[in-house]
């Protein structure tokens, strides 16, 4: 008897994963250049949530609440959003190497966000996100069209063509970004933008979290509402259609969701690579390929992964904060290589 059918057997990790996320967030708030004891972190939290009511060191409070916790929450949302985007793209494109970064979607989002900033349409997070969304959709359309024109279909060759198209798209949009900065940005803007482009959580504060949380939550909700459709793509789009999936509506919704999640996360933190690639594959090993389990597992693992990467980026070189994209790439590039080699079979 199969007891594991989409429910019973999944109970274990369903409860474990949110606990891991809470633990990761606490570690994120505690670890850093100045180490703050976990007890102090919990005190700050309790006081902020109105549970206790006695004075705390304003410095501790500022570091824990305004700086580290906001940063950890944004990192978690960012990891969740990028990981969900990865799952969606891998399922729809039937390509195990699909990832918002490798497909140039992050590069397009960067171009869009920079254009909005430089054009003076407002440097606010919302307007940057909207610009990033437009850029992300433009990049995805470009890459999808290029792969289509190059005859990319299914199988190993099609997968390769899609990734090549992604490289072309990423290069093009990165060049556009560089051109826009050189052409239109003043020196101060340029410095800020270059810093942000590398993928950085240093400037992140609570207002960013208030944007990141609903977007991450909404992408998860959309992906969860489509788990059956995501499964149905296992044997291709035609097979999904013959199983009753409305291709146009479903693809539009899911690709729009992946582009929006990527765009908003890029607008807040800059382009961070490989999260959408590594996390879903790790989760497939843990919970299998059916999306009913894979989507929630990937969301939570993505969040935990990103918070921990951020912690590592802050402590790995004493006195220096590495861009988080460096850490995710150091983990992600070998994983990419592994998937490539395994895909040869």
């Amino acid at each position: 008897m199969r007891a594991t059918h989409l429910g019973a057997g999944s109970a274990r990790w369903v409860w474990l994963m949110p606990l891991c996320l809470i633990a990761a967030l606490l570690i994120g708030a505690s670890v850093g250049e100045t180490r703050i004891p976990l007890a102090t972190v919990l005190e700050v939290l309790a006081s902020k949530l109105g549970v206790i009511d006695h004075p705390l060191s304003t410095l501790d409070e500022a570091i824990v609440w305004h700086y580290r916790l906001a940063r950890a929450v944004v990192a978690a949302c960012c990891g969740a959003g990028l990981a969900v985007s990865g799952v969606i793209l891998q399922a729809l494109l039937r390509n195990s190497l699909a990832d918002p970064y490798l497909l140039g979607i992050s590069a397009g989002a960067s171009t869009g966000a920079v254009t909005v900033t430089v054009a003076g349409l407002g440097a606010g997070m919302i307007s940057m996100s909207m610009g990033a969304f437009a850029g992300a959709l433009a990049a995805f359309s470009f890459v999808a069209l290029l792969a289509h024109l190059a005859g990319g279909g299914q199988g190993v060759r099609g997968a390769g063509i899609l990734i090549l198209a992604g490289i072309a798209g990423a290069q093009l949009f990165n060049a556009l970004t560089a051109f826009i900065i050189a052409h239109s940005a003043n020196a101060e803007q340029a410095r800020g933008i270059m810093f942000w482009l590398l993928g950085n959580l240093s400037a992140v504060r609570w207002p960013d979290a208030w944007l990141a949380m609903p977007v991450a939550g909404a992408s998860l909700a959309v992906a969860l509402s489509q788990v059956r459709s995501l499964d149905a793509f296992a044997f291709g789009a035609e097979s999904a259609a013959s199983l009753g999936v409305n291709l146009r509506a479903t693809k539009g919704l899911l690709i729009g969701t992946a582009a929006l999640a990527t765009a908003v996360m890029v607008a807040i933190t800059g382009a961070i690579g490989f999260v959408g690639l590594v996390v879903p594959h790790a989760c497939r090993l843990l919970v299998g390929v059916r999306h009913r389990r894979l989507v929630p597992a990937t969301t939570l693992c993505g969040a935990v992964f990103m918070v921990l990467c951020d912690v590592v980026s802050r402590v790995v070189i004493p006195g220096q904060v590495l861009p988080i994209g460096v850490i995710t790439a150091l983990v992600g590039a070998p994983a990419f290589a592994y998937l490539m080699v395994r895909g040869r079979r």
Binding site: R2, R94, V227, D231, G244
Partner: protein, 260 residues
């Protein structure tokens, strides 16, 4: 065979063109409940395209396909998927699905969006696996299945969809003769209406009716013995062929000579 008055599926003057080329040209066809209809024709005759038009996966440029008198264009994909299942050629996956996972996909049109799985879904999947004799291999990963086993899983997936009509695109392709015969016998044995594109004419002989396609047009439609005449096989495939009685069986044999 006695045909009931109302067809299950009907195509009227269905045509389809792509990049200036007419692939299916003015096809009229009625499919009746319970029959197995074979579709034959040379490569590029439009067999696969016709199946996709009948399945509502391609919109006809001209004409109309109706299921139980309802135009497919007015039905949602989900409604169509509850009536008809397609077994396409060479549908493959890199996902590490088991045979059972693949069959469970057949329940997609019957599940809610959030997809609460019910006991009847498990029952339908079990029945489908049993019908294709894959119950014992249900937990085997896809990659470890042979071509014949994969094809049986695809048929089981279509079976789990509980359709009234199953459309199969050359289901015996790339299989050895043992598995070819097993698949054809399986399709015949399933209590379901089937439209099957076939490459092998000896399989067509086992269908209730045969539709012959050439350059997208219907050139013959009738019982196998009515359709598979030497004249028609010459027109379709450019070969000399005739049916000879099998001294030890009921189904005639086809003897070929290449036209020289």
């Amino acid at each position: 065979m006695s045909e009931p008055a109302a067809p299950l599926l009907s195509a009227r003057n269905v045509s389809f063109s792509a990049s200036g080329q007419t692939l299916v040209d003015g096809v009229d066809l009625d499919v009746f409940a319970g029959e197995t209809l074979g579709v034959i024709g040379p490569n590029g005759a439009g067999k696969s395209t016709l199946l996709r038009l009948l399945a509502g996966l391609l919109p006809p440029g001209i004409g109309e396909v109706r299921f139980e008198d309802a135009p497919l264009s007015r039905l949602s994909r989900r409604q169509i998927a509850r009536c008809m299942a397609l077994v396409a050629q060479q549908a493959e996956t890199d996902e590490r699905l088991t045979a059972r996972d693949a069959v469970e996909l057949g329940r997609t049109p019957w599940l809610g969006r959030l997809g609460s799985w019910r006991a009847e879904d498990t029952a339908a999947v079990d029945r489908a696996l049993k019908a294709v004799e894959m119950g014992a291999l249900a937990d085997r990963p896809w990659a470890s299945l042979s071509g014949g086993e994969r094809q049986r899983v695809h048929i089981a997936r279509a079976h789990a969809q509980q359709p009234q009509l199953m459309l199969l695109d050359e289901p015996t392709n790339h299989l050895d003769i043992h598995h070819q015969l097993a698949i054809v016998a399986l399709i015949k044995a399933l209590p379901i209406t089937a439209v099957v594109a076939l490459h092998d004419l000896s399989h067509a002989l086992r269908c209730d009716r045969v539709l012959a396609l050439l350059e997208g047009r219907v050139v013959a439609l009738g019982t196998p013995l009515e359709v598979l005449t030497p004249a028609l096989l010459r027109t379709l495939f450019g070969v000399e062929a005739r049916l000879v009685d099998d001294p030890e069986g009921d189904t005639p044999l086809i003897a070929f000579n290449r036209r020289g």
